[in-house]
Symmetry: C2
Subunit: 179 residues, 2 copies
DNA sequence: CCAACCATGTAACTGGTTACATGATTTA
DNA sequence: TAAATCATGTAACCAGTTACATGGTTGG
């Protein structure tokens, strides 16, 4: 259900499915990912439901694009989604499930290897996020003021990853004390 | 795929589907939730695949239970899952998707209401987690030493929620400055 | 001309949720 | 005896992923 709302939100200005995928990669992928194979059918459904209008546009260059425009009903749907209040869907954290069972590894060194790999993964996510922020800064000098709420989401991403990294270090230290 | 591995991990001692659901509610629900409608068929599949053995056991009291036992192949599968290294599946955060589009609300007061509700939700998750920790403490006085890794997962939950709460407060403050 | 990229789509499958069905046992 | 809880399951559906198919356009 959420992808529908997200696409509606992104369509405050007209865009094609391919455009939207690019936007996902730039601004939303740190808290939401979507594949084209899911985006295209969802847009078709939104058009059928009367929330979007579609038109084929042969552009100045490149292959023909199907551009979607948000209708009044579409904008209303976004506002209703936001007025429902925050949605707390229990998110699953795969690697935490693994940490939970780490005692199943008979060799303590294997558990430590796991945690070091985890730390490395989190750290690379952190640098990735900082790269996104740099991109935003260079795209528009008015950032972060011109993108107030997107900036907030990025801040939470950075904050959480920093906290997770700290947790990794503390956990590894405790594992060493445990021996 | 992960639920299979989690169930295998939980079955270091024999249990029924219903037991496992209870364990989910106690120890894992802060990073993974599962319904009985998913647990039962998954256990059946694991039995069919030869990783678990099942036996009907008419207990001293209560209705008959189907108890599953992990076989050697099952334990091996858990170790292999852990040796693959940490799985980073991009987690989706619904409420962040909503925050991203909060400018769609024409009335700034509505956006603030949203953030306050978000803060309240996070806070209640935090108290819920602290309640779980208290439960663990009273269940076993040796905690957290006897449950080292489960304790670590709880710590991350607490750390992240505290960080998120701080972010909420800072964000609300920025929104007020923005006017 | 070929590789890389732009652009749209369908089909099959997996994982997970919601709703429903059934019945035994325990407790108030 | 009625309600709550224990206990196991199936069916229909929804969301999301992976793999595949197709073809236009641009740049080396």
């Amino acid at each position: 259900m959420s992808l529908r709302n997200i696409l509606l939100g992104m369509l405050s200005s007209p865009a094609s499915g391919y455009d939207l995928k690019r936007q996902f990669n730039q601004g939303l992928r740190h808290f939401w990912a979507a594949e084209l194979a899911q985006i295209y059918p969802t847009l078709q459904k939104l058009e059928k439901d009367g929330l979007l209008a579609a038109s084929m546009e042969p552009p100045a260059q490149g292959p023909p694009r199907k551009v979607y425009r948000r209708k009044g009903t579409g904008s209303k749907a976004v506002r209703e989604w936001l007025k429902e209040g925050p949605q707390f869907r229990r998110d699953r954290i795969s690697y935490l499930a693994q940490v939970y069972f780490l005692d199943e590894l008979p060799n303590a060194a294997d558990a430590k290897t796991f945690m070091l790999e985890l730390r490395a993964g989190i750290e690379s996510q952190l640098t990735e996020l900082r790269t996104i922020e740099q991109g935003w800064k260079s795209d528009d000098p008015r950032y972060p003021d011109e993108a107030f709420y997107p900036h907030l989401t990025l801040q939470l991403g950075l904050t959480r990853l920093a906290a997770t990294l700290k947790w990794c270090d503390e956990s590894i230290a405790r594992m060493e004390q445990r021996n």
